[in-house]
Subunit: 246 residues, 2 copies
Amino acid sequence: MYLHGRNVLKEILKFPSGNLKIKHILFSDQKNVSPELDQLKKSCIKKGYRVEETSPIKLQNLSHEKKHQGVVIDLKEFPYADFERLLETAGAKAGFSIALLDMVQDPHNLGAIIRTAVAAGIGGLVITEKSSTKVTPAVIKVSTGLAFRLPISIVTNMVRAIEELKKAGFWVYAASMEGTPYYQVNFSKKTAIILGNEGKGIRKLVKTNADYVISIPMESGVDSLNVSASAAILFFELRKQLWGGE
Amino acid sequence: MYLHGRNVLKEILKFPSGNLKIKHILFSDQKNVSPELDQLKKSCIKKGYRVEETSPIKLQNLSHEKKHQGVVIDLKEFPYADFERLLETAGAKAGFSIALLDMVQDPHNLGAIIRTAVAAGIGGLVITEKSSTKVTPAVIKVSTGLAFRLPISIVTNMVRAIEELKKAGFWVYAASMEGTPYYQVNFSKKTAIILGNEGKGIRKLVKTNADYVISIPMESGVDSLNVSASAAILFFELRKQLWGGE
């Protein structure tokens, strides 16, 4: 996949290079575009990435984007995190929290949720293999590159993932239209929050397997919030409860 | 402007018809598309709107959208609310709150903010005449038609609008990177919350004129939230403080 833009490259440069399958990083061959770009190029070479130069038109064609900011990254695949590994990481940390997305389909929503999750300090994200948008270039763009800062796992069976989370000591909350108002919930334990599909919400079987169903009370006559708005409200409630006193 | 979709039409049907400049409402001329569509057509006629039938292809061409759901509305202009009128409405109500957007430019953000504002029970929205996206068909679509439920005013001078809000008894809060954490603020009075441009935030002069600067504390190393995520967090904090006990 072709990614573009300086923010995305900066996030990639922070990522452990051995774990990223980068074919090459293409820079604009125009001279003196910006000192920042020259500096980024040096950092890429230092990290051992294969750097090439090409025309701005070529960069535009590859990224399908005029605002490529002089750089296009050719990444073989997004570095998904192993779910078991994510649970192990979580085991050692107090106040670790995970978000699970049950068939979220809109790349704009996934990108927005990733950006908000990182800002709120959520430790990991789990998405379903079936009927979900994966981490595409559009998702990475909307996340402002922050997708590289968040461990994101794909699971084939969400119900089994919930069972494993419970075994690992997580309290699992399903966000729905009914349920306990989110601000009455005490999120002081290790927390997993499930959010559902844009149209249908969380699947019934998935919801049944959660420990609690929680809701965001809203104005009467309004059907639902956008899933990325719900995520922002819940993730930051969690953050406030965990870190608000500090 | 051409709007489309059944949710948008349903919102339009709830709107006082005398205040909407609708040229005509175009329905698909295919028979038996859905009972819902037939019912909507009857409601339009009852409301006194000019209804016409045309081909699905024509609907697609007008709306630039395949998923027009069999209906396209030809609206002369979005019915903006008068700012002075909005203040008068606000005067009579306890817990009335207004959001002000200082040069928000992305239609997707404005639509998302409108949807969240209505869900949170925000009473009105103010946008700037200069350098703002206005309420376009794209904005109305992202708002799921809820733009018609929220009084939205355009002002030429945001600083003067803030002065008038203060005179009308509002406490004015500017959302920024620094400032008091939002959850330490007591939003029990009439509240106005200002959110800023996607890249630059709130203009300095606008911020200086607010009563308080508030912030959403976030993970270190993250620059900012998307403005629609910030709006969701702040609007629902406000709602919780105003109505959380009920």
